[in-house]
Amino acid sequence: MNRHRIRPLLLTLALLSPPAAGETLDVDSAVRRALAENPTLRARRQALGIAEGRSRQAGLLPNPELEIERPAEKGRDLELRLGFDATSLLLRKGRTEAAAKDLAAAKAGIDSAAIELEFEVREAFHTLEDADRRLALTRDALDAAAAAREMAEALLAAGNTSALPAKAAIAEHESLHLAERDAEVSRTMALERLTRLTGLDAPLVEELAEAGDLPETPEIPASAVSRAVAGSFAVASAQRSLEAATLRARLTRREGRLPDTSVFVVSSRSGGEPEAHGSPSTGGSAWTWGGGVSVRIPVFDRKQGDVAGREAEAVSLRSEIDALSRAVASETREAEHHTASAHARARHLRDVVLPARRAVLEETLLHYNAMQIGLFPLVAARRSVIDAELLESAALRDYRIAAARLAALVAGGRPGRGPDTTAMASLSGNDANGANGGH
């Protein structure tokens, strides 16, 4: 992105002036960037050319067949024969229609993939937000554990305690270093995922924009289930595939009943002496014209097997659409419930649990001031606040991801089955619902 190219310049400017404000990335910008730059989605869009090519191919006229023969008989020196496959011509319209359906199915698959990519970006963004907060909070916890350790070591050095409290505090502090490493790894993974999704060559460098507050009520669209089913691109794609299969079944049936018919014209030229009657002399040779029809009589092979295959494909696709609709409805209900419960959980943490933990810390500080307790319970109370903050951060992330999943479903996507980085690039004719329709 341009922003990255201009960053060195900004850094240079930063030496002269305070850092530029607004060097932040918000989730919507990340989505826009991914829709434009995601390599997998781009590959998939390019692969649409395969279906387009097939569609175009289906509309082309069959080529005429020209035979030129020099017979061995005396008196006839050249025979021209021009044939044309009439059956193919008759079936052309049907084939074009079926190929158009395949193309529509492939396009629906790409629309679905774009929505699913958007969800993935949102998921990755909120996961990174949480990972940022988690890393900061883990460092706060490490700080608190370091304070307990320093106090225990100071007490030991002064000769006021045995080595036991200091050893326990050292063990606790050192263990938290592992949590810090874990948080760093999690953050790196989240960052790289967002980087991959947004199609960058190097990791994101912007700070994430300040996370907004939890909305007062969960963002659940009205009639989400019916909208998700009606607008599902996966269902639409399977439906286009079904239509294509139905058209092809009809076409095959017709093809089986139609005698395989070719029409042809024949022209031959006689060599040597002029005939006693007939055409005026052309100076030694004359063209004669004839024509005919070649018909393969559909007595035994009326493509019954192919027809049965096409019909079975249609029946199977119909069942698949039914299953897909039910699955989308179920996933949407699940997402609605998940959004509502994640919201309730995040709100309870924000409005009840965290204030309660902070109140314990405040009261503990008062008791510490009153010399009723020592530093260790005070540090423990701070750690409890940090634990609640970690839970709140995760709950906020879970809510945002749940709401994004629901929004994606309502927009017609099937999040969680988003762009598959290995299988996405291949897109075959009758498999338009391939990446999205499986179960």
Binding site: A147, A154, A157, A370, R382
Partner: protein
């Protein structure tokens, strides 16, 4: 009511007026404050005396056992149990040989009884529920009637569920004045009851189950700086009656600036031949000690239990020993870890001034004094010996020039051959 003016009036009719309306309503007989012949009324600092009346030659009083909202010191209150609205209960003053009828109404949530501690009464009036009487049921009024036969300093307390009722504050003095003057007359006569309580910081009800973790030590159920000073004149003869009805602890009460003699216990008068001078009197649980002295040296003199933990207030025992620990690093870090964090206690407990503390608590609070914070609390009060005790009873003693310890003059040190040790 301003306690100071009460004190200055000597508590004569004022105490009766305080509670008379409630305890002795429609009686036709005369109010009869009790004063030792030729003596002064007993003053119960922070407390009161029970108003009594003479009805056809019998002294009549009324005790109401009840729950009381009690303030130990400004900032620390609790729901205690007591008599007639307070803890300790009002000091009952009787006269040797004068018949007395004391009505006891039980407004507690459980039965009670009253035992006249140290006093010899007919066995059925001894107040031991189950053994010498039925317990007074909730809401009932019982009558105790007897004639005190011997002058002295006694006490009263319940003898039903003693552990709970005494721990929650149901104690009081019962003083029998002699019919005829005995011993040397005194100019001041004070009564102070020691007590120990378990009241967790921030809590509102003392814990009667405590056996050793007492964190609140009191004179007349008040903790310094809530204790009212004893103001006396230079050269006055002073009597201080100490009683101990605390749950578990004996208290060595120490007086600065004078020496005294123990002239009586609740067992009777100590013969002159058995008295000896001392500055600390151990007051065991369930005993009284009467101290007498002449205060010759003017000043503000502490009077306190000499158990150091008893002259502190609401100390916790869950803090590690920080003396000598270098906590500079941890302090800097803690200010970041816990906003609002303050450092304490690495050079001793002194010098700790106001920090935000839990609501309804009195921990480690230093009281402003004339020379700085007074790092005392709990069972601590001040005996103010003044040329004119009426002049400024609330103020601090004004020391004559050159009589207060202060920074040494180096020239004087050198002249005296004093060298500070090298650091």
């Amino acid at each position: 009511m301003d306690r100071r003016s009460f004190l200055n009036l000597g508590g004569l009719a004022t105490g009766a007026a305080l509670l008379g309306g409630r305890a002795l309503a429609a009686s036709p007989s005369r109010k009869a404050p009790v004063v030792a012949p030729g003596g002064v009324a007993v003053v119960t600092p922070n407390g009161s005396s029970l108003p009594t009346r003479l009805v056809r030659g019998v002294r009549v009083g009324h005790l109401v056992a009840e729950s009381v909202e009690h303030e130990f010191a400004p900032g620390l209150s609790a729901e205690a149990w007591g008599y007639n609205g307070g803890t300790p209960g009002p000091t009952i003053e009787l006269v040797e040989g004068e018949r007395v009828r004391i009505y006891v109404t039980n407004r507690l949530p459980e039965p009670t009884s009253v035992h006249w501690h140290g006093l010899v009464v007919p066995n059925g009036m001894d107040g031991v529920s189950g053994l010498t009487q039925k317990a007074i049921p909730v809401g009932e009024t019982y009558l105790y009637e007897f004639t005190p036969r011997r002058a002295g300093t006694y006490m009263y307390h319940p003898h039903y569920d003693e552990m709970t009722q005494i721990a929650l504050g149901m104690v009081g003095f019962l003083i029998v004045h002699p019919r005829r003057p005995e011993g040397q007359p005194v100019d001041r006569d004070f009564a102070l009851m020691t007590h120990e309580w378990s009241l967790p910081v921030g809590a509102r009800r003392p814990d009667p189950l405590a056996m050793s973790d007492f964190n609140l030590l009191t004179f007349n159920s008040r903790a310094f700086p809530g204790t009212e000073p004893l103001v006396v004149g230079v050269g006055e003869r002073v009597r201080i009656r100490l009683g101990n009805l605390g749950p578990m602890d004996h208290h060595p009460i120490h007086l600065h600036g004078l020496s005294f003699q123990v002239t009586a216990t609740d067992g009777g008068t100590v013969p002159e031949s058995a008295r000896y001078p001392e500055t600390t009197a151990l007051v065991p649980v369930g005993a009284t000690r009467v101290l007498e002295f002449v205060a010759d040296e003017p000043g503000d003199w502490p009077m306190h239990c000499h158990m150091t933990h008893h002259a502190m207030t609401q100390m916790g025992h869950g803090t590690p020993n920080l003396i000598g620990a270098d906590t500079s690093a941890v302090d800097a870090r803690m200010r970041r870890v816990v906003p609002g964090y303050m450092t304490m206690g690495t050079t001793g407990m002194g010098g700790m001034m106001e920090m935000p503390v839990p609501a309804n608590s009195l921990p480690m609070r230093a009281t402003p004094g004339p020379f700085g914070p007074i790092e005392m609390g709990g069972m601590f009060t001040i005996l103010k010996v003044r040329e004119n005790p009426l002049e400024d009873p609330d103020g601090w003693y004004r020391h004559p020039a050159g009589t207060v310890a202060s920074l040494a003059d180096p020239a004087r040190m050198k002249a005296d051959g004093i060298q500070e040790p090298e650091l």
